[in-house]
Symmetry: C2
DNA sequence: GTGAGTGCAAACGATTTGCACGGTG
DNA sequence: CACCGTGCAAATCGTTTGCACTCAC
């Protein structure tokens, strides 16, 4: 994605277009997948533009608030961020913890059928599936591997 | 619920029926609602049967593993436990953080349609709805109140 | 009596807060 | 050039770990 477009997207969302925000947003857009804050810090460092952890926390918080990023909670103390255009949910393996994207059965913004009788204005619905991934089900690594995330 | 039944339920699940487990399980069964570990520690202390935080962590972990409790992650570092018989999902208010139960559109164990093309064995699906609760939407308390949970 | 379970202390890791400097608009 | 945003240090919070004592079976 072009720097200019990043700049524009940020400005449109009412955010100042700083180098750090562009870096985080661009990374998530281009690399795809869901990443934790630590993940992002590492990837940014690798890409030659190291940012402090606090800045990354600030940035993902701002971008999420502006609707540019999606936040997925796949467990206590495990927040993942992504910039995917296509709405989807997440499957979390109970054994190895791997996170796999699951397309949403509904169109783009799913499951927003407001529950009957409840006066709730739902603007988002996330589904977390839990079970065993193919590898763990095959008994390959029963309780090992902690590679956490890094997937589509 | 009777102490005997608690005892039986625990034994049936392959767990030793200790005073602490009965206390936690009984509390969640009788009081209903979703509660954090801290919440449970406080409630147990009030009820005259104070348990250490670690014990509560151990107990909810054991009971969840045994299928007697459900665990709901409604945000980073926010794990709630409940013993509800009826399967449901959760609505979390973006403003005040209140958690409200939402009945599941599907029968008892919902949304288990395994995604097409993915070789995943799903045994559970949780939906987290986010938006504004009636009170916050009414502008009553825009960003205040942190009472967290305590609901049906 | 034996081993599962409890619970104290302490470590741990993710996230937050307060504030001074720097860059964007 | 005013103010938002960055990022350092340090505090905070939920949760986990290691181990000695206790109780259910």
């Amino acid at each position: 994605m072009q720097t200019d477009e990043l700049h524009t997207r940020l400005r449109e969302s009412g955010l100042r277009a700083t180098r750090q925000r562009s870096a985080v947003f661009g990374l998530l857009r281009d690399a795809g997948g869901h990443h934790s804050v630590d993940d992002l810090v590492g990837l940014l460092a690798e890409s030659g533009d190291p940012l402090s952890r606090m800045t990354v926390y600030n940035v993902v918080s701002d971008l999420t608030g502006a609707g540019l990023l999606m936040q997925a909670d796949v467990g206590p103390g495990r927040a993942l961020y992504e910039a995917s255009e296509t709405w989807h949910h997440h499957f979390v393996c109970r054994s190895c913890g791997i996170v796999i994207d699951v397309p949403c059965a509904r169109s783009t913004k799913p499951c927003l059928e407001t529950p009957p009788g409840l006066d709730l204005s739902v603007d988002e619905a996330q589904v977390i599936y839990r079970g065993l991934c193919p590898a763990c089900r095959a008994g390959a690594h029963p309780l090992e591997e902690r590679s956490s995330e890094r997937h589509t």
